[in-house]
């Protein structure tokens, strides 16, 4: 119904719409074509290849999965323009979790709750998915991970929309040749009285202070000794994301804020949660200062606010930095001799966190990756077949195959498989990190919140303003915007 209203407003006759709907609705039983908007990268390419290879429709359809591969940098624009124009081109869409609110409110993403409940297979899948993923990828209005974990599926008052296409977390990529080097370890021990982390277990004990020491330790000028040789260029110890684009600083800064015990505006408590006083609390400021403080040990691009997830990946692969915190989804090229100079020297550990008073380390992080959803204009038949595709995709066999080819699974049964950790070198770290994940907001205004925040963070990263000024400005803006939107009373 909403589409009709929409189009009337835009000056289009309802008659033409009806004709379009009819044409779209008449699909032959023997042939279903599912057009899926997908970013152009290996996890989705795999899905298409695997679909063509192994999918058998349980309902006897002759189903074609027609993936519209869209370049990542333009993915959002292409999908947003398509949805907003009402062209109804896509039956399924791979989406960033943050877009859920914007496109659910727009009436584009299909509410799957009732179908999940009615279908035992889907119920089983939902129960098997990691609660952090259900929380971030599926629920709108957003429910926290704890809420999902505490309640049996279906959780009360919860609407579900998506399934994991590619779940992602950030972990530490590090140079095994340097961190396990005896001379370096001895020098590190002497200078900081700490063990230089070498094994996975060592990295489980790395907090931000150790990470900072690593940064200090490995900072070398061209010509200085490094490991077994000399640095052929300036060398740096550490790097994490600090880029202006999209969410390329928020994802890491949120981790600091949560680990310090601060918070971002809590959408699950709307309209009672506030932005002012929370976003710019003393704890949050301290956390942001902590984040900014480590930038001094990072490569010079940090000063430009352009040090995004790809830049640190490149710096690492070209042997300019000893350890980075980056997405698992960017791990594959690191092991590829065609793209990486350190393909045979890399190992992976959990991302550092903040040491708590009891000595444990809090690694709370911001989840990445993408769910996929169905759209509202599909006929019942297409929806049914779409759900068959979901079941095929989240089948343990497909998932294991996916993981073996560089993907990740969200199913706890698959992750619990003893083989899982050995399928890819970062899997152990990924599984460990998954328990720590939370997500940024999913409200329809998320992009506006994100953009303004990225601008202010960028000012602080490039040294134009201090942490408090930045967070004050963010808090003021969020309070105003969210009040306007009726999300804060």
């Amino acid at each position: 119904m909403r589409l009709i209203r929409d189009r009337l407003v835009l000056g289009v006759s309802a008659a033409s719409l009806a004709a379009g709907l009819l044409a779209g609705g008449v699909a032959e039983a023997a042939d279903i074509r599912i057009t899926m908007a997908a970013p152009d990268w290996p996890p989705t390419r795999f899905m298409k290849e695997e679909f063509d290879r192994s999918y058998q429709s349980p309902d006897g359809h002759n189903t074609v999965l027609d993936m519209d591969f869209i370049p990542w940098p333009s993915f959002y624009e292409r999908v947003a323009a398509s949805l907003a124009s009402g062209e109804q081109k896509y039956q399924m869409i791979v989406t960033d979790s943050q877009w859920l609110g914007a496109f659910v409110e727009g009436g584009y993403y299909l509410d799957l709750t009732d179908m999940m409940i009615a279908d035992p297979e889907l119920t089983a899948i939902m129960e098997d998915l990691h609660p952090a993923l259900v929380s971030a990828y599926s629920t709108y209005p957003h429910k926290t991970k704890d809420f999902i974990a505490e309640n049996e599926f279906p959780a009360p008052d919860t609407r579900y929309f998506g399934f994991p296409q590619f779940p992602d977390t950030y972990v530490t990529f590090y140079r095994e040749d340097l961190f396990c080097h005896e001379g370096e370890a001895a020098a590190f021990e002497e200078r900081f009285g700490q063990t230089l982390p070498c094994t996975y277990e060592d990295w489980q004990d790395v907090d931000w202070d150790t990470f900072r020491n690593i940064g200090e330790h490995f900072q070398r000028a061209a010509g200085d000794p490094l490991g077994d040789g000399v640095a052929d260029d300036d060398f740096f110890g550490i790097a994490y994301q600090a880029g202006k684009g999209y969410d390329f600083s928020t994802m890491q800064i949120n981790a600091f804020i949560w680990q310090h015990g601060g918070g971002i505006w809590d959408e699950t408590e709307a309209p009672n949660a506030q932005a002012e006083g929370v976003v710019n609390s003393d704890i949050a400021v301290e956390a942001f200062e902590h984040y900014l403080d480590l930038l001094q040990f990072m490569p010079p691009v940090a000063q430009t606010g352009q040090m995004d997830i790809f830049v640190i990946q490149d710096l690492y692969m070209q042997g300019k930095v000893a350890a980075i915190v980056d997405w698992v989804g960017l791990g594959e090229p690191v092991l590829d001799p065609n793209t990486s100079l350190v393909h045979d020297k890399s190992a992976f550990g959990p991302a550092p966190g903040l040491r708590q008073e009891d000595g444990t380390i809090d690694r709370t992080g911001n989840i990445g990756g993408q769910p996929f959803v169905l759209t509202t204009w599909n006929s019942d038949e297409v929806v049914q077949e779409g759900l068959n595709v979901v079941k095929w995709w989240l089948n343990p066999e497909t998932q294991k195959n996916f993981v073996a080819n560089g993907g990740q699974s969200g199913l706890m049964s698959v992750m619990a498989d003893p083989e899982y950790n050995d399928l890819r070198p970062w899997n152990r770290a990924h599984v460990e990190m998954l328990d720590w994940q939370r997500d940024v907001w999913h409200v329809p205004d998320f992009f506006e919140l994100l953009t303004q925040q990225q601008e202010e963070f960028d000012r602080a990263i490039t040294g134009q303003i201090d942490a408090r000024t930045a967070l004050d400005s963010v808090a003021r803006f969020q309070q105003m915007l969210l009040e306007d939107a009726g999300l804060i009373e």
Binding site: R7, L10, E49, P71, S85, T339
Partner: protein, 292 residues
Amino acid sequence: MARIGSRPREIGKAGWGWTAFTSVVSLIYFFPVLWIILTAFKTRSDALAVPPKFFFTPTLQNFTNVFFRESITAQAAQATEFPLYFFNSIFIAGTSVFLALILGTLAAYGFSRYPLRGNDTYLFVILTTRMLPPIVVIIPIFLMFRLTGLAGSYWGIILLYTAFNIPFSVWLVKSFFDELNPEIEDAARMDGAGEKRVFFAMCLPQILAGLAATFVFGMILTWNEFIFALLLTGVETRTVPVAMARTMGGEIGVDYGLLAAIVTLFLIPIFVVTYILQNQLLRGVTFGTVKK
């Protein structure tokens, strides 16, 4: 037949000394492009080497990657859609610039010889259609395309690019017509020449070089258009600039080598067209300014 303006103009002569000087300046100016072309033949590590590598073992891998993509599940490589995109770029840009040239020339002739009331206003309105950031009209155009069935078709994007090129065509071609001497045309009409004859046999031949120049300008402005191509073309009608975006982030940041290879291949047609039409290009724009 009158032959005004067709006499080639003399320009100053300079020798090899000037060539040497110009070569240095041109090469400096060309250097960023040269670096892109070199990058097309480099491995990723060579492309990002510190200090920069001027001499390296060239690889053709990037060009192979333009046409073939490694499969994730199987060992066999899959052909990419690049040849189709390449054809699309040539076909779409060529057709729309040509159409814009025809429509623009007719309109320019009209504006020049048969001024309407408010002639300047019309010209100005034509110009204003190029002033808005394209992003603003995208959603209406998107909807319009959807309703007319133009979305994803060749005709849709060709019509859009035609409209996109008309303003410059009209303005430039009009300046050529303005430089011709209408008295000669009037004399021909007195002698009984029809309007068609005046237009096709007298006016057009004199501004052929100008038309060629307009064509080249149009090609340059259209060849690399990105945002409309991204949003309004379908899988079958996508152009090369959209394919370029594929190299800018996924599981790896920018695939510099691949992007450079696409850029290099994509430079060739426009380079050839411009080189062939270079004399016309210069003579064409020149002609527009020759005073009566």
